[in-house]
């Protein structure tokens, strides 16, 4: 089961290249959907307007490259923005699971489409691992971490527009696993599997799918604003600066430890 390519099992039942065309179509719809979202929300316009704003300091080209690398390594690869560790872990599971699932699916469909071209065990195993990771992270988020469930006590089964992305992602990977467990082939589960994927990739303008492009851009913009001194108008004084320690207002903290521990973050925000 773990070593059989479910996409090879459909090669005889559907026109040749069906899955290849389907994947190509989905890639195009993600690109078109994201572009439409960018134009509709005007996000790119504001992104570049912010970058072009007058700042106290000029950021050199080398610094921009370093910031871009830092954004990729810290903000994107480790989902730094999440302040709740469980959310961060669930997000990482889902993100890396989805990447694994996507890459291995493309490999299996384009490089090993028939039984005559068996896929390597590593690719097959990673496909399973990826889909399982999406399911674990997705269901964890869906039933326990979602803010309206965890904090507002709402039912996990109450659906709203904001759930379109998460639900279609979980549904597509769950159906992929069920379909592969059933041995692949073309049947009801296969068409449901395709439907869930179509909703996931075609629904980009109405779902938060495009956050995977917007969030890195926002993190990059934030780091640039810190580097150029504008800091989004946020204060930059900190207590560990020896100059600031001389302030009259810092008199009471002269003997205090530099790490006072956690304040309101000692408890999860679920008191409303």
């Amino acid at each position: 089961m773990l070593t059989s390519n479910p996409y090879a099992a459909i090669s005889g039942s559907l026109p040749e290249g069906f899955m290849k065309w389907y994947i190509a179509l989905m890639i195009v719809s993600v690109i078109v959907g994201t572009l439409w979202d960018v134009i509709h929300k005007g996000s790119a316009k504001y992104f570049f307007a912010n970058l072009g704003k007058k700042a106290p300091r000029e950021v050199s080209g080398g610094e921009v490259v370093a910031i871009a690398i830092k954004t990729g390594l810290i903000d994107v690869a480790t989902s730094k923005e999440f302040c709740t560790q469980s959310r961060r872990f669930a997000h990482l599971l889902t993100m890396y699971g989805f990447i694994l699932y996507l890459v291995t699916t493309i490999l299996m469909v384009f490089s090993y489409p028939t039984a005559a071209t068996p896929a390597p065990d590593l690719v097959l195993t990673l496909w399973w691992v990826g889909a399982l990771m999406v399911c674990v992270g997705g269901y964890w988020f869906w039933f326990f971490i979602r803010v309206d469930v965890a904090a507002e006590g709402g039912s996990p089964f109450r659906l709203m527009k904001a759930d379109l992305f998460v639900l279609s992602l979980i549904a597509s990977n769950t159906l992929a696993l069920i379909w592969a467990l059933a041995g692949g082939g073309v049947g009801v589960i296969f068409w449901l599997y395709l439907l869930a994927h179509t909703v996931l990739f075609v629904g980009v303008p109405w779902s938060k799918f495009a956050h995977m492009f917007f969030k890195p851009a926002a993190a990059f913009e934030k780091r640039i604003s810190e580097a150029n001194g504008s800091n989004e108008n946020l204060p930059f004084e900190t207590r560990d600066d020896p100059e600031q320690q001389k302030r009259h207002s810092m008199e009471l903290l002269q003997n205090a430890p530099m790490n006072m521990g956690l304040g309101i973050k000692r408890e999860a925000p679920r008191h409303y």
Partner: protein
């Protein structure tokens, strides 16, 4: 001067919803991000602005007295026990403030009420509240008066 949320910064953690004394910070049903459901009822207390770990909440001044170009932003650094304000006036003036919000590590000076012995029947029937008379210093020989302290009230204004 009601608050508003930068949607691209917000990660929907719920700290602002938790802390809002007016209960007007809610999670949006479409984007699952925080938003102010009733700006007219905002107290402008800045609690949500200070609590937001992403600095995703800002306060918009009314256009009649805070026209374009001003900015009042805050960073509450709990780890260091400070709060910093950066005030930008529209004429270019900028003021920066840094103040303590605690002088002792968080959570160390919370009274452990569970460890305090339960009040006796006499204490329950008494007019004194918990920790009285000690914390109002009535156990140090009745009420502290000028006379008891050997002081006199002088007539007129003196410096």
């Amino acid at each position: 001067m009601p608050t508003f949320v930068y949607m691209t910064r917000c990660d929907g953690c719920g700290h602002c919803v938790d802390i809002c004394p007016s209960d007007i910070m809610h999670i949006d049903k479409t984007y699952r991000r925080a938003y102010n459901i009733e700006p007219n009822m905002c107290w402008e207390c800045y609690s949500c602005v200070k609590a937001c770990p992403q600095h995703a909440i800002d306060v918009r001044g009314y256009a009649d007295f805070a026209p374009l170009g001003h900015s009042v932003r805050v960073h509450r650094d709990e780890q260091k026990g400070t709060i910093a304000w950066r005030i930008k006036f529209r004429n270019g003036t900028e003021k920066n403030f840094l103040s303590p919000i605690t002088t002792k590590p968080w959570g160390q000076c919370i009274p452990k009420l569970a460890d305090v012995p339960a009040p006796t029947k006499e204490q329950r029937d008494s007019q004194l509240l918990f920790s009285e008379p000690k914390y109002i210093r009535l156990d140090e020989g009745d009420i502290h008066t000028l006379k008891a302290a050997g002081l006199k009230l002088r007539k007129g204004v003196s410096y």
